[in-house]
C-alpha cells in the first residue's frame, strides 16, 4: 500500500465511492434515469414537420381548387359520408358549394385545427378563383439548434441532477450512518471530524464529472445540443452548484434520525424548486411578483447560468449574479449546518 491509500481522507472517500457503486439503484437514479428522461422528452417534444390537415370536399371542382394548398389533405366524398366523417373527427372541415356560387365551410370553431383548415381552405379557393396577393410574402425557415425544447431541457436536467444527487447523496448517507450509530463509532476514533465532511465533498466533485458530463455528452451527441460558452465557466458553475447543494444536503441531514424523515425533508426542499426553477418549463411563466424569489433559489441560479453558458455563450461576467446567489446559499447553509449538526 502506498502512503496516500493509508490516509483517512482517501479511505473515507473510497468508502463513499464503494457505497455508491455497490448500490445499483443509486447508480440508476443518479445516472441512467436523467438520460432516459432526456431521451424520452427529447423525442416527445421533437420539432415535427408542419402538420397536414385532412378535410373533405363534395365536388371535384372544389377538391381540385383545395389541393393547391400543400398543407391540406383533401378527400372527395359523397355528402352523406363527408358529413359523417366530420362528425366523427376524421376530417376537420367540410367544403361544399353554397347558393349563388358561394362556398360553405362546415367545421367546429372551438377546434384550432378546424379554424386553421378554414383559413387555408378559403385562401386556396380565393387564389384558385383568381385573387392576387397585394403584398408578396416570402418564408425563411429557421430551425436552429439552441431554440428547441431539448436545448432548453438538457441544462435543466443537469441542474436537477446536481441538486438531487447532492441533497440525496449527503442527506441519505449521513442519516443512515447516524441511524446505525456509525457516526458515533467513527467519532470515537482519532479521525479529525472535518475529514468526514470533506470526504463527501471529494466524492461529490468526483461524481460531478459524471453527472454533468454524461447528460452533456448525451445531449451533444444525440440531439446536437450546442455548448457555446466557455467550458471552464461551465465547470466552475457546476462545482459551485455542487458545493451549494452539498451544503443544503448537510443542513437538511444535520439532525434527522430516520430515513422517513430525511425523505420527507429532502422532497420538501427539492420539489418546489423542480417546479419553479425552470427545469422543464421556463420559470418566466410565474407571476412577476414572485420572480425575485424564484431567482434567489439555488436551482434557478444553476439552471439559468448553465443555459446562458450553453445556449448564449455566456462567460464568467454574465454568470456573476447566479454565482453570487450560489455563494450565498453555500455560506448560509454550511454555517447553519455546522451549528446544528449532531453526530449521534
Amino acid at each position: 500500500m502506498s502512503k496516500i491509500s493509508e490516509h483517512s481522507l482517501f479511505q473515507l472517500t473510497l468508502m463513499r465511492m464503494r457505497e455508491f457503486i455497490r448500490e445499483p439503484e443509486a447508480l440508476f437514479w443518479a445516472l441512467i434515469f436523467p438520460i432516459a428522461l432526456a431521451a424520452g422528452l427529447g423525442i416527445a417534444f421533437r420539432n415535427q414537420p408542419p402538420q397536414v390537415l385532412t378535410i373533405a370536399a363534395v365536388t371535384p371542382r372544389l377538391s381540385d381548387a383545395l389541393r393547391q394548398e400543400k398543407l391540406l389533405n383533401v378527400m372527395q366524398l359523397p355528402r352523406v359520408i363527408a358529413e359523417q366523417s366530420l362528425r366523427t373527427g376524421k376530417v376537420v372541415l367540410l367544403a361544399e358549394p353554397g347558393p349563388d356560387g358561394s362556398i360553405v365551410y362546415r367545421y367546429d370553431d372551438t377546434n384550432p385545427e378546424g379554424r386553421q383548415a378554414r383559413m387555408l381552405a378559403d385562401q386556396a379557393i380565393q387564389r384558385a378563383s383568381g385573387r392576387q396577393d397585394a403584398v408578396a410574402g416570402n418564408d425563411k425557415i429557421m430551425r436552429e439548434p439552441g431554440s428547441r425544447y431539448i436545448d432548453f431541457l438538457i441544462p435543466g436536467l443537469i441542474g436537477m441532477g446536481i441538486m438531487g444527487n447532492a441533497v440525496w447523496g449527503l442527506g441519505f448517507a449521513i442519516v443512515d450512518a447516524r441511524r446505525k450509530k456509525l457516526l458515533k463509532r467513527i467519532i470515537a476514533t482519532p479521525m479529525p471530524k472535518h475529514y468526514y465532511l470533506l470526504s463527501f465533498l471529494f466524492w461529490r466533485l468526483l461524481l460531478l464529472v459524471v453527472e454533468v458530463g454524461v447528460p452533456l455528452a448525451f445531449g451533444a451527441l444525440v440531439f446536437g445540443v450546442p455548448m457555446r460558452g466557455s467550458a471552464i465557466a461551465l465547470i466552475a458553475i457546476s462545482i459551485l452548484g455542487a458545493l451549494a447543494f452539498s451544503a443544503l444536503g448537510l443542513l437538511v441531514a444535520s439532525r434527522v434520525k430516520t430515513i422517513e424523515a430525511i425523505s420527507g425533508l429532502a422532497n420538501a426542499t427539492m420539489v418546489p424548486m423542480w417546479i419553479v426553477s425552470g427545469v422543464f418549463f421556463s420559470s418566466q411563466r410565474f407571476p412577476d411578483l414572485v420572480q425575485p424569489l424564484i431567482k434567489a433559489l439555488p436551482l434557478t441560479a444553476v439552471i439559468d447560468a448553465l443555459r446562458a453558458n450553453m445556449l448564449q455563450g455566456a462567460g464568467f461576467a454574465q454568470m456573476a449574479p447566479q454565482a453570487a446567489v450560489l455563494g450565498a446559499w453555500l455560506a448560509v447553509c454550511f454555517g447553519l449546518a455546522l451549528k446544528l449538526f449532531r453526530w449521534r
Binding site: 479511505q11 457505497e19 448500490e23 446505525k180
Partner: protein
Amino acid sequence: MQEQATKAALRVRTLRKAYKDIVAVDGIDLEVHAGECFGLLGPNGAGKTTTIEICEGLTEPDSGEVELLGLHWNVDSEALRQRLGIQLQETQLSEKLTVLETLQLFRSFFRQGPGAEEAIQKVQLEEKRDARVGNLSGGQKQRLALACALVGDPDLLFLDEPTTGLDPQARRQLWDLIEEFKLAGRTILLTTHYMEEAERLCDRVAIMDHGKVISQGTPRELIASIGVEHVVEFSTGTTLDLAGIGGIPGVRDVRSENGGVLMQVTELHQAVPALLAELSRQGVPLTELRTHSATLEDVFVHLTGRHLRDE
C-alpha cells in the same frame, strides 16, 4: 495505596449524569488497574452504557471526574483517542464494504497499530476477509467490531455488551478472543448483563443498579460476601408454609418465585435433608429440586431482590 493509584488505567470519581427524566449515573466511583479486565455488571437500564460512554469521551458527564491513562478528556482528547479501542453497543458498520475494507478504513484513523490483515487474523475472520459486512452473521459482525477496536493497538479497550444477542456458540468464541486479549496484557473495561460472562472474563466486577455501584470486587469476593455458598431451587405440588423452611439451620434467605422456591444456604449437605424432612412433615409433595453453587446472579438477587435479566 499510592503505588496502586499510579497503576490505575481508568479512574472515575463521583460521576453523575442525568437525562431529562432519569438519573442514569448517580455518583459512581471506579478504578480499573492496568492489565486487568474489569466488568460492569447490571440489568438493562442500570447505567452501564452511560458510564462507559462517559469514559469513552462520547457523553459529557454532569459532574465528576474521569481520568484515563493519566489523561483527561477536556485537555488530551486527541492523544486519548489514539490510545483507546472502542466497541459500541449496536453499531452497524457499512454493509456495502468488505471486512478488509472496513478494517483498512478504521486502521487509517490511527497513527500506529496492526495492519488490517493482522487484525483479521486476531479475530479469526480470515475466511470472511473479502465478504461484505452485510453478509456476515451476528457473531462475525461482533468480531469485526472487535477488530475495529484493535487496529489502533489500544492501551485500554472498551467493550459495551460485546456478546448481547449472540447464540451460545458465538458467545463462547468471543469469550475466547477476549481472554486472549487479557493474556496479551490489555486493560479491558466491559459491560454485560450476563453473569457467566462477568464470572468468566473479569478479574474484578462492579455490580450496578439504578445508576449506582452496589457492590465491587473479584467475582469470588462478591459471591463470598453474601455468605451463601449454594442455592437450592425447588417446586412443590401444593402450597407450603415458607416460615417452616426459613427455620432450617444454615438457610439465609427463602423467597418464592415463578411458582417455585429459591433458598440460599451455607451448608448444602445439611440443608437438603432438613428441607426434605420439613416437606414430608408438612405433607407437601416435591416435584422439582435443583442446587447450584452461588453465582454473581445470586449476588444480584441477594442485593436487589431482582434478577439481572427479566424473564
